[in-house]
């Protein structure tokens, strides 16, 4: 039996709505629109239903009835539901049993000025909170140096292990590949001029000065920074950080110190390791692809290596270590108390670590250029 939705004015102020057939997945929009037009009629005071010929029905009918009753209530129109099936009446009663909470409706802020203003305030607050966090982190490191801040040794050792030797395989792989790519790209151009030997200098200087540190930084941001944010974010979800605060335990000392110290210590070492592996990767291209004698390649590499390039690279590593640890811990601590927030915190930690690594590289490079280092 096909569904039908019809109406009938039984007097000037009373509308009878007839619903018949199997009212399942009813989607005749025109009929509904026509019905709502009648409900909006100024003279309407009462609504009745006729469901004598109603067969099967599903939630679509309940939605229609709910909308009709709600619209009618808003317009102070009486709705007589006595002719409805018992189960429909019960469902409608259930839906209207708890009045709508007016305060639960969120304000619809469509005003563009309000949106821009709120965004600006949020950005400013985030910036200030970031500054506050960085300053309290450095204060904590300062307190640690003068022995008034404590951290658990075991946490520091775990952090060292995690960002130290456990990171070796991935750092080895990526650094070797970067050295290989640098050597390969350089070789293609330098071969034209018969200056293949300069591949050794290219790879050595690039790896030592910035590429070793930068690639290690990017790997560690994805690997360790994200882990910091996820761990601390989950602690936030589990109320562990609230527990620390209420016990009066300085959260920054307890959570941040071991992680920052470990990364500040390990990142320069990983950078040195990455430099060596990258140079080996470049060497592989030089020796196997360009047929350069191993001894000659080695000598050219040693000639190109300067202490200041090496130190600048190590300094990059140190700065990147600070950035990754601070971003990871900051977004972890700022995480909300649900799974989605932890995911966002982890993403933010990685994205902002990489952004700040690139900004820091640019700043250090310009600084070195200006001062002729």
């Amino acid at each position: 039996m096909s569904p039908e939705l019809d109406y009938n004015w039984i007097s000037g102020d009373t509308l009878e709505i007839k619903i018949s057939g199997d009212y399942v997945s009813f989607d005749k929009k025109a009929q509904k629109d026509d019905l709502y037009k009648q409900i909006r009629h100024k003279t309407l005071k009462n609504i009745k239903f006729d469901t004598r010929n109603l067969g099967r029905w599903d939630t679509v009918l309940v939605v229609l009835l709910y909308d009709i009753v709600k619209t009618a209530k808003n317009k102070s129109i009486n709705v007589d539901t006595s002719n409805l099936q018992e189960s429909l009446k019960r469902l409608l009663n259930l839906a209207f049993s708890v009045p709508e909470h007016k305060t639960a409706n969120r304000k619809n802020k469509t005003d563009i000025l309000i949106c821009v203003g709120e965004k600006t305030i949020n950005i400013f607050n985030s910036f200030m909170s970031g500054i506050d966090f960085v300053s309290s982190s450095f204060k904590s490191i300062g307190r640690f140096i003068v022995s008034s801040a404590t951290m658990r040794k075991i946490d520091f050792l775990f952090a060292l292990e995690d960002c130290g030797y456990k990171a070796f395989p991935i750092v080895t792989l990526i650094s070797f590949m970067v050295g290989l790519i640098l050597g390969f790209v350089g070789a293609m151009q330098l071969k034209i001029f018969g200056a293949q030997i300069f591949v050794a200098s290219l790879v050595a200087i690039a790896m030592l000065r910035v590429m070793g540190a930068m690639m290690t930084g990017i790997i560690m941001a994805g690997r360790t920074g994200s882990a910091y944010a996820a761990t601390i974010g989950t602690m936030q979800v589990n109320e562990e950080i609230d527990a620390m605060r209420t016990m009066g335990i300085p959260v920054v000392d307890f959570l941040l110190l071991p992680r920052v110290m470990a990364l500040m210590l390990m990142m320069p070492l990983l950078t040195v390791f990455s430099d060596i592996v990258g140079i080996l990767g470049g060497g592989m291209v030089g020796v196997l692809m360009l047929d350069l004698p191993l001894q000659e390649y080695w000598n050219a590499t040693i000639d190109a290596m300067r202490m200041k390039d090496f130190l600048i690279g190590v300094f990059h590593g140190f700065v990147f270590g600070c950035i990754i640890a601070l971003c990871g811990c900051y977004y972890g601590i700022k995480s909300g108390k649900d799974a989605d927030s932890v995911g966002k915190a982890t993403t933010n930690a990685v994205v902002y670590s990489i952004v700040w690594i690139i900004i820091a590289t640019a700043v250090i490079t310009v600084f070195c250029q200006v001062f002729g280092i």
Partner: protein
């Protein structure tokens, strides 16, 4: 503030942006009370607990802990006060990277000069008090929800606090474990004289342990009843309280009107 008052809250208002969660909240918790903060879900019970434990600054009003205006005092004073409080969170909030012994030892290491051996002895005692003797080397992931709560309680008791706060202690526990935890709360209150503040809507716990209480109303956003929970049940000051205390069995007729 009277001598027997441990906590006094005056004209407290808490808002999140434009949304006022509670307003004009006034109550006093006396020393040695088992004080219940009850109310329907979303009435602001847990937020009130966060205000009392220094995690959420109120929009307006005063919270006296002892004689100190907590939110007006400086950070060091607040930290000192918080050290005299113990808190048991819904999940236990144990540090997952530490064993139960390390969890309980943490506040002792932070704030006392006890040797490692002395701390070890205190930890064993505190764990024994909550029925977890022998579980020192277990990690939180290796024990049940009820045991986590008891371990959290052992940590909360580590520094012999004057006040212990409980956030929904029976949530997620089977009736027997919930009863055991209730008994433990009464025992701590009686044997140590600790003031207990419990946020809950579990009726069995409310009647079993509560000596005094307040009811936060969802609609009016303030306290609509104060007193001993059993007395509130026998002479409810309003219909909402009656419905709450009888799981909605009584008081519906008046509400329908």
């Amino acid at each position: 503030m009277s001598k027997s008052a441990e906590i006094k809250v005056e004209n407290l208002t808490v808002a999140y942006g434009d949304f006022v969660l509670m307003k004009d909240v006034n109550f006093t918790i006396n020393k040695g009370d088992i004080f219940i903060i009850m109310g329907a879900s979303g009435s602001g019970k847990s937020t009130l607990l966060r205000v009392l434990t220094g995690l959420k600054e109120p929009t307006k009003g005063v919270v006296y802990i002892g004689d100190v205006d907590f939110w007006k005092s400086d950070k060091n004073v607040q930290n000192k006060i918080m050290r005299k409080n113990g808190i048991l969170y819904q999940s236990g909030a144990l540090f997952s990277s530490m064993t139960l012994a390390e969890n309980v030892a943490m506040p002792l290491q932070q704030y006392t000069n006890y040797s490692d051996d002395e701390i070890g002895e205190i930890v064993s005692l505190k764990l024994a008090l909550v029925g977890l003797a022998g579980f020192e080397d277990f990690y939180p992931s290796e024990i049940s929800g009820g045991m986590k709560k008891r371990a959290g309680l052992a940590r909360a008791l580590a520094l012999d606090p004057k006040i212990v706060y409980f956030d929904e202690p029976s949530a997620g526990l089977d009736p027997v474990s919930a009863k055991l935890l209730d008994d433990l709360i009464i025992e701590i209150n009686k044997s140590l004289g600790t003031t207990i503040v419990v946020v809950t809507h579990e009726l069995a716990s409310i009647f079993a342990i509560g000596t005094n209480s307040i009811f936060l109303d969802n609609e009016t956003r303030t306290i609509t009843a104060k007193g001993n929970p059993k007395e509130l049940l026998s002479s409810p000051p309003n219909n909402t309280v009656l419905r709450f205390l009888t799981r909605g069995i009584k008081g519906n007729e008046e509400a329908a009107k």
